[in-house]
């Protein structure tokens, strides 16, 4: 199906090869997971398979790459896409038409399928991706997960022999991501001949799907090509050395120093496998402790307990009975309904919930970017409405999801220095602090670059740096872990701890369940403009049903932790 021989790619005007000397072949029915650290050329390889490289993006190719005997150098995307279907990361920019059925028809029209045949194909495709009821719906009314399912349906209707997916769940909440993984498994069971090549970071969901794993290193070389069972089992250490994500089971085994095993049949729930792992450590106290520490949640009581009698300081942020609705919207329903919420100094609180539940609105209200119709927002006890804009931006910071929105200067250094200048630091201090901050976030060597020329992960870290450099009372992050590889993520998480230690109140809007589990002191689940559930992660994750309504699924680490502690309670009650 795919035949790569010493395949290499170098983009026009770039000194280095993105991919070099890639050789592999892929047969019908194989399900392959392509892994590699950021910038290792995963997307380039996928785009080459469909001819976007070199036909739409100019590049110099070496060796050969062919799909079903068609050499990609000589075949246009138009020809190749009759055999290869490609699903990209962002659902919105893949949808061309305005309604669901038109969207499916679009691909069929491009293939020149006679209109009489289209109805049946559209029906089948929608049925297969579970969107049968939405045939005439407008595309912009669908949720992110439904859009992505629609894209997959539209591709399936074209009956490709190879399905290529480039991080299809990156923009989705955990529940929608799980639905995509179930859908892919279902599809591969129905179409046994269909080969799937997938790039994905959510390995807990996607690893069980894979029959085979390919690993690219940071120089764009193929360094590992093994059955999934081996790659995530005995060779998991190699994967970890290359800074790629691992399924929690494999990562946990590596952590505990026991040989990882990976033989979960596709579709099996992760908790069972982790239960087994926990059980295997029954007799091995030191390893069990080590693992327990690894999957420990954040301490729910941040900072030092206040000595008896001393006055507890008031919350840094408090929202009191906020009701807010947007003017000129078709639905008169308020986005936030009589919502109250507070955040203490040094506290890391996660705000989770489905898209449209009001998370961003809540954050924008807390920053004073939108004024609520009723209720008030207090920053350290002062009504936000009475604090001048300039002072507000000194006290409270917001790291936006799209880092580019926040860039206001032309260099990485200036971007961070800008914040300090606002706070009227001396020139010497500005230089010193900026350099230290850039260094901590691994951006030191990029100080002179234009912010827009950085990679996505670097941009995110830069926007975080520009907010963290000054000591603020309140910092809000919108999806901070999105698009970060394990190493960069570790840096970011350490910075969160640092912030908490500096007594900054931190609010994180996130879908990242692992982040919530390992860092948040408290989680608030927002459903339909009200806080449906609030408490430490251990308590909130126990309410699976309610979580599920909010599109959330407890992370495997939570299950592992539960399995480990349950045993400890049974065997030796309360060792502390």
């Amino acid at each position: 199906m795919i035949e790569a021989r010493s395949f290499g790619v170098r983009y026009e005007g770039e000194p280095d090869q993105v991919l070099r000397d890639i050789s592999f072949s892929l047969g019908p029915g194989e399900r392959v997971l392509l892994l590699g650290p950021g910038g290792s050329g995963k997307s380039t390889l996928l785009a080459s398979l469909i001819g976007l490289i070199p036909h739409s993006h100019e590049a110099e190719l070496q060796g050969s790459l062919s799909v079903q005997g068609l050499a990609t150098v000589h075949s246009s995307p138009g020809q190749l896409s009759r055999r290869v279907g490609m699903v990209f990361q962002d659902p919105d920019s893949q949808l061309t038409m305005l309604t669901v059925e038109e969207e499916i028809a679009f691909g069929l029209e491009n293939l020149g399928i006679p209109p009489e045949e289209m109805d049946q194909r559209i029906l089948d495709a929608l049925h297969q991706v579970g969107l049968g009821r939405y045939r005439t719906s407008r595309v912009d009314r669908l949720s992110g997960g439904m859009k992505q399912r629609l894209v997959i349906g539209a591709i399936l209707a074209m009956e490709p022999e190879l399905l290529v997916l480039d991080e299809p769940t990156a923009n989705l909440d955990p529940r929608a991501a799980r639905e995509i993984s179930h859908l892919l498994l279902d599809i591969s069971r129905r179409r046994r001949e269909l080969a799937i090549l997938l790039v994905e970071h959510r390995l807990d969901e996607m690893a069980p799907l894979a029959t085979r794993v390919l690993l690219l290193d940071s120089a764009g070389r193929l360094v590992l090509d093994l059955p999934a069972r081996e790659a995530f089992g005995p060779r998991a250490g190699t994967l970890r050395r290359h800074q790629v994500w691992l399924p929690t089971g494999s990562a946990a085994a590596l952590q505990a120093g026991i040989p990882p095993a990976f033989d979960a049949p596709p579709g099996q729930a992760a908790p069972e496998e982790l239960e087994k792992l926990a059980a295997s450590l029954n007799q091995d106290q030191p390893r069990r402790d080590c693992l327990l520490e690894w999957c420990q949640p954040a301490d729910p009581t941040p900072g030092d307990p206040h000595p008896c009698g001393s006055e507890t300081p008031g919350p840094v942020l408090s929202l009191e009975n906020i009701t807010l609705s947007y003017p000129r919207t078709p639905s008169p329903e308020p986005v936030l309904k009589n919502l109250s919420f507070s955040l203490a100094a040094g506290e890391i609180c996660a705000l989770a919930g489905p898209n449209g539940s009001g998370k961003s609105t809540l954050a924008a209200t807390a920053m004073g970017l939108i004024a609520p119709q009723t209720g008030r927002v207090l920053l350290e006890g002062r009504d936000l409405a009475n604090i001048p804009l300039r002072e507000r931006s000194r006290q409270a910071g917001f790291v936006f999801q799209n880092p580019e929105h926040q860039f206001v200067t032309d260099s990485v250094f200036q971007e961070v220095a800008f914040t300090l200048r606002q706070q009227e630091f001396s020139d010497g201090e500005i230089r010193e602090r900026t350099e230290v901050t850039l260094e901590t976030l691994g951006l030191g060597h990029l100080a002179g670059r234009n912010p827009f020329s950085l990679s996505f992960g670097q941009k995110r870290r830069l926007s975080a740096a520009s907010m963290m450099v000054a000591e603020r009372k309140l910092l809000i992050f919108d999806e901070p872990t999105f698009g970060q590889d394990p190493a960069a993520l570790e840096e970011l998480l350490n910075l969160l701890d640092l912030l908490a230690a500096r007594k900054t109140a931190v609010l994180i809007i996130t879908h990242d369940m692992d982040l919530i589990w390992s860092r948040a002191h408290r989680v608030a689940l927002l459903l339909d403009g009200a806080i449906a559930l609030e408490g430490p992660p251990t308590e909130v994750f126990a309410r699976e049903e309610l979580l599920h309504r909010g599109g959330l699924i407890p992370p495997p680490r939570y299950h592992l932790h539960r399995a480990l502690t349950r045993r400890s309670h049974r065997r030796e009650p309360c060792p502390l």
């Binding site: 279907g85 920019s93 038409m97 029209e109 209109p115 804009l389």
Partner: protein, 276 residues
């Protein structure tokens, strides 16, 4: 969330089923025709005729019509004031003109007021006939009909559709950039310098994300075999009997109104006004 004042209203009315290209061209013809008429009575009658079509066979709710017409009302009011206060410019007559009434230092002359009223009503008429088209036309059908009836190349047509889909995103993106800059505490200062700096800061991220999105959309379309050639069409927009019927009805309505106005002696047809 949709902030558009002027948008497609999903319905299944007789006007919704017409061929979009036919509807667009006939609306344009009526608008050109009203540009040649200079008396308030005829213009008002033609405007009301269009309004009746939109509300009746078009089944567009009155509130939506009213919302869509707000900019045209403001526009019309502006035109009225301009013309009413400057009779000389518009009428070419001038001195010895009958003064209708005065408001402090402002004098309202007969020709000026008449011209002002007709300008105002004409702009409203433009609004009504544009709304008639926009509110009853599914954007996809419109694009399809441009391809099928007006022979627009599919590549251009689908780019237009992609751009149309991007508009709401653009709106929310601008809001987000404004918020993000406000959070960073930017101060551009007032005056042209500040305006320039602000525009610069807004343009770069918008341009970058716009280009990136355009690239992604193009990639995704190509990946779905879009070449613009050898396509089949799931739905074919055609010109049918009802389109003919509509054109005849619209034309006879407008002509009858004009003839009646002529009969009454109210019609002022173009006689070189605004020409020199």
């Amino acid at each position: 969330m949709n902030h558009a004042l002027f948008e497609y209203y999903q319905e299944r009315s007789p006007l919704h089923h017409l061929n979009p290209a036919v509807k667009l061209i006939s609306s344009l013809v009526v608008m050109i025709f009203t540009s040649l008429i200079f008396d308030p009575f005829t213009l008002a009658a033609i405007t009301l005729f269009g309004l009746a079509l939109t509300l009746g066979p078009g089944r567009v709710p009155p509130t939506l019509v009213l919302r869509g017409l707000i900019p045209f009302l403001l526009f019309g009011a502006g035109f009225f004031w301009m013309n009413a206060l400057m009779p000389r410019v518009t009428s070419g007559a001038g001195t010895g003109e009958e003064l209708l009434f005065s408001l402090g230092p402002l004098g309202f002359h007969r020709t000026g007021v008449i011209n002002g009223v007709s300008f105002g009503i004409r702009s409203l008429g433009f609004g009504v006939y544009s709304l008639l088209f926009v509110a009853t036309t599914n954007p996809t059908d419109f694009i399809l009909s441009l391809v099928h009836q007006v022979r627009l190349p599919p590549r251009l047509a689908y780019s237009a559709l992609a751009a149309y889909r991007y508009l709401p995103t653009l709106h929310s993106e601008i809001t987000m950039i404004r918020n993000a800059h406000q959070v960073r505490g930017t101060r551009e200062g007032s005056g042209p310098g500040g305006f320039f700096r602000k525009s610069y800061r807004f343009t770069i991220p918008l341009l970058v994300s716009g280009l990136r999105r355009a690239g992604r959309v193009a990639d995704a379309m190509e990946a779905r075999a879009f070449t613009g050639r050898n396509r089949s069409w799931y739905r074919q927009t055609r010109i049918g009997f009802r389109d003919l019927l509509y054109v005849v009805a619209l034309a006879s309505g407008v002509v009858l109104i004009t003839l009646y106005s002529h009969h009454r002696g109210t019609l002022i047809f173009w006689g070189g006004q605004l020409w020199n």
